[in-house]
Amino acid sequence: MSQIPISHILFVSTALFFIGMYGFFTRRNMITMLMSVELILNSVNINFVAFNKYLFPQKMEGLFFALFIITIAAAEAAVAIAIIINLYRSHRSVDIEDADEMKY
């Protein structure tokens, strides 16, 4: 545990963040974009926990931030899926290219 420098953990979380960003850029399906957002949120969680564990082990602020982020991510996913299902009902598709009524 202590032999691993913190920058290696931050490497993992940064890489995961940019993997999620890549998915967010390339995917056009709303569900897969939601999955990319989950990846990004998880990478932030790893960051919070690693900073707490390595730099401030007497407190638990990072742990609580991670817990609240997990809660908010659950709420966000539920609302997003409700919106996606409602959109599917009216457009018969969850592709973001098909939902462009408010664009022009």
Partner: protein, 191 residues
């Protein structure tokens, strides 16, 4: 190299490989399963940091809740067995460029920053400690964010029900007239 660090590198490689597969897989259902493995790997990373409660929450909420919700919405909205359309090559190239540049910039900043621990000692993250801080109102108490998050969850739940509720066929006369042509239009679009 001890067993602990070997475990760390193995879990990290697992997380990154599963994350990459989740964002590049052609079939959306497989993509959801790769995402599930990635989230379980992150829970393993939390176990490795000896934060058992957070790892359990990660498995219960993400693997048990969010991924199941995503899989259900895939079943509700996607045709089974069809591939996702391949993104345009130009978009792939520019996305890879943007992410690689962003990653290089961020990681050079991280690698040059000297992280120095303010205080040392083991992190005391037992569940009774977490519980008493979560509901404490003192200096290290998180009672206010706890209440705010519970209100947020309630609001999200009501919002989900309202958004996803099927509008009944017999509605107010004004809304019915407005809703009718839209429905016809979408039907003709699909046929």
């Amino acid at each position: 190299m001890s067993a602990s660090s070997i475990f760390f590198y193995f879990v990290s490689a697992f997380i990154l490989a599963m994350g990459l597969l989740a964002v590049t897989s052609k079939k959306i259902f497989r993509s959801a399963i790769w995402l599930l493995f990635c989230l379980v790997g992150i829970a393993g990373l939390f176990f490795w940091m000896q934060l058992q409660f957070l790892a359990a929450v990660q498995i219960v909420v993400y693997a048990g809740g969010i991924v199941v919700l995503i899989i259900f919405s895939i079943f509700l909205t996607q045709k089974a067995g069809t591939d996702l359309p391949k993104p345009a090559t130009r978009r792939i190239i520019f996305s890879i460029l943007a992410t690689l540049l962003g990653f290089a910039l961020t990681y050079t900043i991280i690698a040059r920053h000297p992280f120095s621990a303010r205080d040392t000692g083991p992190l005391n993250a037992r569940v009774n400690e977490i519980g008493s801080q979560m509901l404490g109102t003192g200096r290290d108490g998180y009672a206010l964010p706890f209440e705010v998050v519970s209100i947020l969850l309630l609001a999200a739940m009501i919002g989900c029900i309202v958004i996803a509720m099927k509008t009944p066929a017999i509605n107010l006369p004004g809304r019915e007239k407005k809703g009718e042509p839209e429905k016809l239009e979408t039907n003709s679009m699909t046929v």
